[in-house]
Amino acid sequence: MNINNDNKINNIQNTCDLSPSVGTRFIASARNSLRVRGLVCILAALAVMAAVWSTLLIIKPKQETLDQRVQDVASQLRCPVCQGESVADSQATIAQQMRQVIREQLQSGKSKQDIVQYFVRSYGDQIVWLPPWQGFSLLAWLVPMAFLLGGAVLVVIVLRERRTGVAVAGASKTVHNENEIVLDADLEQYRAQLEAELAEEDSLFRHYRTEVK
């Protein structure tokens, strides 16, 4: 039973690893080159991606129908008589009229920005959903950012404070059998971690580990 189990594990390891019959040092360098190759692959992929994107954007720039553009502008504006609905969503008469105005202005060649500005001039800042990047409403943007930044800084400070003076014991929990060849330390470590976690709740793994011992 014991031997049987060990054989199985060796088999698995053999199939998992790329080069089963050579020394660990060679494997380490092989792994390094593998990592480099991986990085190169990703960089190449990114390059291809960028190329594809730029060509696509040159070949066919983003097309929008008139309805789409009307909707886009209207969704940035708040319906002045409704409770928390945008001009795009509201069925109120004034919202319908505003959509008509947007359509006419777009047809006359005005840009989306100009039209939004036109409504801001006549209704004030409250007409847009997006608080502008200026004055008091800048706070709407800055405070959440400050919160996140502050949180991140706090986490880092707490971590640093605690880490100083804490001696870290390099915990290597893996128990190897003598006739077991350590072929891939990383895979082994991952497996040990997973098994240790799983074993906390499952007798099957516990059983196996005591057997190996």
Binding site: N5, K8, I12, R35, C41, I42, A45, V48, V52, W53, L57, K60, K62, T65, D67, Q68, V70, S75, Q76, R78, C82, G84, S86, A88, D89, Q91, D125, Q126, I127, W129, L130, P131, F136, S137, L139, A140, P144, F147, L148, G151, V155, V158, L159, R162, R163, V166, V168, A171, D186, Y190, R191, Q193, L194, E195, L198, S203, L204, H207, T210, E211
Partner: protein, 717 residues
Amino acid sequence: MTKSALAPENVGTQFIASVSQFIACGVGTRFITSVCKNGTTVYFSDLGSIALILALGFALYTVVIAVLGAVRAQPQLVISAKRSLLVVTFFLLLASAALVVSFLTHDFGVNYVAQTSSRAMPWYFTTAAFYGGQQGSLLYWALILSLFSAIFVLTSRRTPVALVPYVIATLMGIETFFLIVLTSVSNPFVRSAVAPPDGAGLNPLLMDPGMLIHPPMLLMGYVSFSLPFAFVVAAMITGKLNNEWLRAIRRWTLAAWTIQTTGLILGAWWAYHVLGWGGYWSWDPVENAALLPWLTATAFLHSTMVQERRGMLKVWNLFLPIATFALSIFGTFEVRSGVISSVHSFAYSNIGAYFLTFLAIVIAFSSALFLFRLPKVRPDQEFDSILSREGIFLLNNLLLTGIAFATLWGTLFPLISAFMRGQTMTVGAPFYDNVMGPLLVVLILAMGIGPLLAWRRTSLTALWRNLSVPIVIAALCAVILPLLGVIDIAANIGFTVCAFTAVAMLYELWRGMRVRHAHGEAYAIALVMLFKRYRQRYGGYVVHLGLVLLVVGMIGSHYFQLQRDAVLNQGQDTQLAGYRLTYLGNIDTKEPDKETITAQLQIWHDGQLQGYIYPGRVIYRNYGNQPASLISITTFGATDLYIYLENWSGLSQADIHVFVNPLVPFVWYGALLMIIGGVFCWWPERRRVVLPHPQGRDKSGPYISRNKLPEYIESKA
């Protein structure tokens, strides 16, 4: 038995006797009313009023006696508190039954019944009108809280004994607040002198099957956060701040989370199918209010794992349930007070001040306790590395609370602006999209990396080894997507991150299977066993996969929605994204309580007739100025064709709005997966496990209870 233990029961039994007499009397005569011996007419609603007052009395009694029992260390008093809590539950059940009976018998003498129901409504909407208005929904809150409290009392055997009285006192303290509101300003049983012949009926927007379950689920979610809060209060008062209270509350939190998730999803579903603006989430203040406690509860679910495993984040774990509960109360306050303009404005009323006061009390009380206990809390272990499971949980908590804070800030900013500058500002969907989008992407990314990290620390090489496969597949995805038409950079990044996380999780699952397979299990059995044995781990992955799917749907509908307005005369057609709609005419159906107008259209796709659709409007007799809409949604694969009848004239002209919503079905599939995962995590595990004998695998191994397992193993090793 002591005096105090007898007192509540005596009153209780006496009352029950009189009530049963009363009911017998009522049913015996004319069903609704009963003319008792002295000749006065007594209604079921009166029974409800009395039950509420008695419930209030018992709730107050419970608070006092539970605290007294804990302070004086007299278990009989605690037992009395438990019993009187059950009496509160009984009276609230009685009051709710009285309200349901009043609804079903159309007792329009009760103002609340007259306001929210009418004779023409089918029985299920009449029953659902129970929580269709403010008074009823508050009664529902109180009822569910008492039911949860009763469940807690009946299953409190394994809860640490010292905590129980304070948990009971906190729960009944909350209950007392609701009962005070219910018996004073917001009593559902108030009668008018003259009963109108018929009621006003429910708001037509609420006359939808989704409404039968969405509000009760959401409210139930709010209520269920009371339990973790009560446990935190109890832990802080008793000073027993170790992991015991966390373990006792873990499944409650999971249940609360699942209920709240379901409520949110149903709300989105309802908005999509009823409101007619082509979306399912609009960052409306009331939606935000429901999302806030969900976010902090999600953060709590993750940070508890860090405390259970590593004994860290103890202070943070005390803070999160308090925040969650306070946000639940804030949500109720916001909906009811109408301080912030919202599409849910039908819920306005005058009880906002009560909720604000209660919120202030909750915050003041728990902050005081919190500051009092803060010096006592020390972590068991220190952080080793940011590159570890606990490190990623910290990031997760930072992001979730960041999202919650930004949402709260955006919701409150108009008020702050009005207060500081006397000018209201508008903060709407574009703001939230800009702020939350990037945070959500980082959150999803962390979700993919997290399971691959070990507790304590992980070496970079090990991490790279674990990440390489998902990264390569995600990069492939990023290259292929633009060729498929995703030329928006933000959308591509979003999809790529989703692909990365989905692959990382499936890969992790695959490796779990491989480990089991190495022990001699077939892959299929290994998969089943993984889910069976490690419910919370793999149930959590299911929730995560659901969220990824949901986010894919969100990205799809946000970036690729197409729309078109069309005014069509008979025989005309309009086209959008390869779908052609031919308009045939309007159909007008008149019924006693409503009139329904539907436009008949044909859908053509790829030159073939795909079917007929009937978008329409319903005009209810009592709500003539708010025609409800019948939206037609046809799903083609992963794309929804969503048609809304904006306006019509006669029988031969229709003004329709057509949306093509790609990937929206994914939102619902993902949501379903999240709920399934939540229920799976929550589902009770077997208490006992069979431990195979170390020498052989015969089935006659001893039965060991789960918490004794470690000692047993040590003794055998």
